[in-house]
């Protein structure tokens, strides 16, 4: 009956209808329906909890970087300069801590704290600090957010997206299963082993990770004429540093408490993705926040690289990461940042 109601002028039961609230007719189907809904919820929740390896690569990296990664002992007593660089997946693929440290010599140890599709850095920084991992320098490729007010009470209830993800924490699970099955051709054990090995390697590489499944060109390099319609080759992607920000206030509080410095450093773009950053910014070394310790902006808002150094429209390939890491190290050396 219910199907045909979609397309019919089916009669609406009027006040004379025989069934009413509380009648026996309601009880069984309602209990069955609600019971099945709950049962499915429990099954999906159980599968989601039992099979974390199924989650997408980005989620697996996110989870590992937010948990296991920051809970390890990151720095040793001989590490005079302790660096954490934050940003999104561009940082994950673009900054290679081993090469960065080598360009400075002994006593420098860095970690790539980038998270997939995430520019917020405070939760991860706070988690690291709580484990006793205290940096001397925090490098930000994106400035803090502009939230000037604390979230209102019951903010969750106002945000349907957050609310549904809270009610169904396994929401991504069915998609992940499909992707996993597709990527590994239903060889689940092999897939689970591979994901685990990737996470282990990411931790050995101190947070650097190459997003191989997004690379679709030979040698992981885009062709020279590569462009996509969303490119804005005449537009400069200027970085705005919000003047008022709760995140900034908290960052300054942590910087004072733990004694680390904050440096805003360049990220990167692909040729044609945006116009090159103004040449006048190349030697910039500006104090943006006259607090203690100072917050400095060093260099341009971003570097620009040829498409052959990219594995996909957004992320550097291993050749590109070496170039970005070296250029960033050279810039920081030049400005005696450490």
């Amino acid at each position: 009956m219910a199907f045909t109601e979609i397309g019919s002028d089916g009669p609406v039961a009027r006040s004379s209808a025989v069934s009413a609230v509380g009648s026996a007719r309601w009880r069984r189907p309602t209990v069955t329906f609600v019971g099945l809904l709950l049962l499915i919820w429990l099954i999906l929740y159980g599968l989601h909890a039992l099979l974390p390896e199924i989650q997408s690569g980005a989620m697996a990296i996110y989870a590992a970087k937010s948990g296991r990664f920051v809970k390890q002992q990151m720095f040793g007593p001989s590490d005079r300069v302790r660096i954490m660089i934050f940003g999104d997946s561009r940082v994950i693929t673009g900054f290679y801590p081993g090469e960065f440290d080598n360009s400075f010599g002994e006593g420098v140890r860095s970690y790539n704290m980038g998270l997939p599709a995430e520019r917020r850095f405070l939760p991860q920084l706070e988690a690291a600090l709580a484990q006793g991992n205290v940096p001397t320098h925090v490098l930000l490729t994106y400035p803090w957010g502009d939230e000037a007010e604390p979230a209102p009470r019951f903010a969750l209830l106002r945000d349907d997206n957050k609310l549904i993800n809270a009610l169904l924490p396994f929401r991504a699970f069915p998609r992940d299963v499909v992707l996993f099955a597709y990527n590994y051709r239903f060889r689940f054990a092999e897939g689970i082993r591979y994901t685990g090995a990737q996470i282990d390697q990411m931790i050995v590489d101190r947070g650097w990770y190459f997003i191989r499944w997004q690379s679709h060109f030979a040698n992981d390099a885009l062709p020279d004429d590569f462009a996509i319609p969303s490119d804005r080759s005449r537009q400069i992607d200027a970085r705005e540093v919000p003047a008022r920000s709760l995140v900034r206030d908290r960052l300054m509080q942590l910087a004072s408490q733990y004694g680390f410095k904050v440096l805003l450093v360049p990220g990167y773009h692909r040729d044609r993705e945006f116009a090159a950053a103004p040449a006048t910014d190349a030697d910039r070394d500006t104090v943006v926040l006259n607090s203690s310790p100072l917050v400095r902006v060093i260099g341009p808002d971003y570097f620009t690289y040829p498409t052959r150094f990219f594995a996909d429209p957004v992320h550097l390939n291993p050749r590109g990461r070496s170039i970005y890491t070296a250029e960033l190290a050279a810039l920081l050396k030049k400005h005696q940042a450490f």
Binding site: A2, F3, T4, V12, A13, P29, F33, P174, L179, I228
Partner: protein, 477 residues
């Protein structure tokens, strides 16, 4: 307060609890208060115009009933029309007219400073104004009795399930339903919830999943080659159908739960095999409104082909402008009007029923309908006539497509697969509704099928639907 939000779920659940536990005599008050609360959740001041429209048309009808002369009735009717259309014209079209007048003056060499009033368009005003006007005209033509109970009439104008985007109902159908008490029944609840679920599936799993890709292409059309323009036109055709018919289904479903029947607004329009049939299946409440209150008074199908063509063109240009104060909507209406005129002429001159088999006629008719409809949607969705023409021109030069562009448009890998699954479900259900309704009916009688389908819809929406307060397209009209 959008249908596709948890806010509405909470509001509707609270409303139902009060509505069905209240004594029958208090139900109209409950419904009226809820309707105004619902409407005022966007902007409280909008309610003033809604109340004004209600008072004007209620009073006009009473005056017409009490008038002894036809001239007085006519004067009352014209007064109400002037006020209704005056309000609609001012808030919806005045800025558009000022801008165009200044443009014309500029062409004549008079450069005037460009000032508009910047009026905010109250939500749903085009819908409830037309609904209210239909009542006034029906009373004037004695097709319906004037409603003497103000409370009943106020419910008719402000009934919240269909207040913002229709269906545009008629007094003869709705007023009797507001005169009786309502009880929650099992059949109304289950069939109503099924309609709500189906509508939300179309809105949240298809229309909102497609929306970002369509927006990206139409925001900067020059950046996308012809292939993408074709993809965008097809996707927008699907998006607007799922968005608007989804809204109508939710409206019908929520009303059904209350025990109120709303008319069907869509009957699988893309299965039409002629443009004329398309308009019998698309936004039925608006097309029948224009048929009854504009096309027939203009002369309808009586008279020669030229006068019919003139009437069709007038109706469709007005229908286009009804959608919004922009030349793109006028162009959309013109394309459909011209398409119908051409279709009538071809059928009359060529007489395909004589020499062409029915399946071939249907196929050709479907292709013709889809071409006109898709070209129309390009104008409807574009931000200017020039952009629409550019988009159509670029469709003649198909360029290469790239995986990464589809990925940037959110149409790659899993997203594309989910969309394909959703569209297949839509196609299968719509096909059965259009051609195999009996089979669906037989399936629906089996309880386990109904229960399974209900659970599948709930979980499909929860797992794959787009949450985040995305408005319905027709809210802007």
């Amino acid at each position: 307060m959008l249908f596709n939000s948890f806010e509405f779920v909470a509001f509707f659940a609270a409303f139902l609890a009060v509505f069905f536990t209240a004594p029958t005599r208090l139900q109209p008050y409950t419904l009226l208060v809820a309707s105004y609360v619902f409407y005022m959740s966007w902007r409280p001041s909008f309610a003033l115009l809604l109340a004004l429209t209600t008072v004007v048309d209620y009073t006009t009808a009473v005056v017409m009933v009490r008038s002894r002369s036809q001239a007085a009735r006519r004067a009352a009717m014209l007064t109400a029309l002037t006020i209704n259309l005056g309000i609609l014209g001012t808030v919806k079209y005045l800025d558009f007219m000022i801008t165009n007048a200044i443009g014309v003056m500029g062409l004549l060499g008079y450069n005037l400073s460009h000032e508009t009033l910047g009026l905010v368009l109250p939500l749903g005003i085009s819908f409830y104004t037309f609904q209210s006007i239909s009542y006034t005209l029906d009373v004037y033509h004695r097709r319906v009795e004037a409603e003497h109970n103000f409370l009943t009439y106020a419910q008719y104008v402000s009934f919240f399930p269909q207040l913002i985007a229709g269906p545009i109902e008629r007094a003869a159908h709705m007023l009797p339903q507001f005169r009786i008490g309502h009880r929650l029944t099992y059949d109304n609840l289950t069939s109503g919830l099924f309609l709500v679920g189906w509508g939300l599936f179309k809105k949240m799993c298809i229309a909102d999943a497609i929306g970002p890709a369509v927006n990206s292409i139409y925001t900067s059309p020059a950046d996308y080659a012809g292939t993408y323009q074709i993809v965008a036109a097809v996707l927008f055709a699907i998006q607007i159908y799922c968005d608007f018919s989804g809204y109508s289904d939710v409206a019908r479903g929520t009303a059904r739960i209350m025990g109120v029947d709303l008319m069907i607004n869509f009957r699988q329009p893309y299965f039409a095999t002629s443009l004329q049939e398309f308009w019998h299946r698309w936004h039925i409440s608006l097309s029948t409104w224009f048929r009854d209150y504009l096309f027939i008074p203009l002369g309808g199908s009586r008279g020669g082909e030229l006068s019919v063509a003139r009437n069709l063109m007038i109706v469709f240009v007005v229908s286009g402008i009804w959608h919004g104060a922009a030349w793109t909507f006028a162009a959309w209406g013109t394309i459909h009007g011209a398409g119908l005129v051409i279709e009538r002429a071809v059928i009359r001159l060529v007489r395909p029923e004589i020499w062409l088999a029915a399946p071939a006629r249907r196929l050709i008719g479907w292709c013709w309908m889809m071409i006109v409809v898709l070209v129309g949607w390009v104008f409807f969705r574009s931000s200017s006539i020039a952009n629409a023409i550019d988009a159509l021109q670029s469709m003649t030069q198909l360029g290469a497509v790239s995986y990464f562009t589809f990925k940037m448009l959110n149409l790659a890998s899993v997203e594309m697969m989910m969309l394909m699954i959703s569209l297949t479900v839509l196609l299968v259900v719509d096909f059965h509704l259009a051609f195999r309704a009996g089979r669906l009916e037989a399936l629906g009688c089996r309880r386990w099928v109904s229960t399974g389908a209900g659970i599948a819809i709930v979980y499909y929406i929860l797992l794959f639907g787009v949450f985040g307060h995305l408005e319905f397209i027709y809210f802007q009209f």
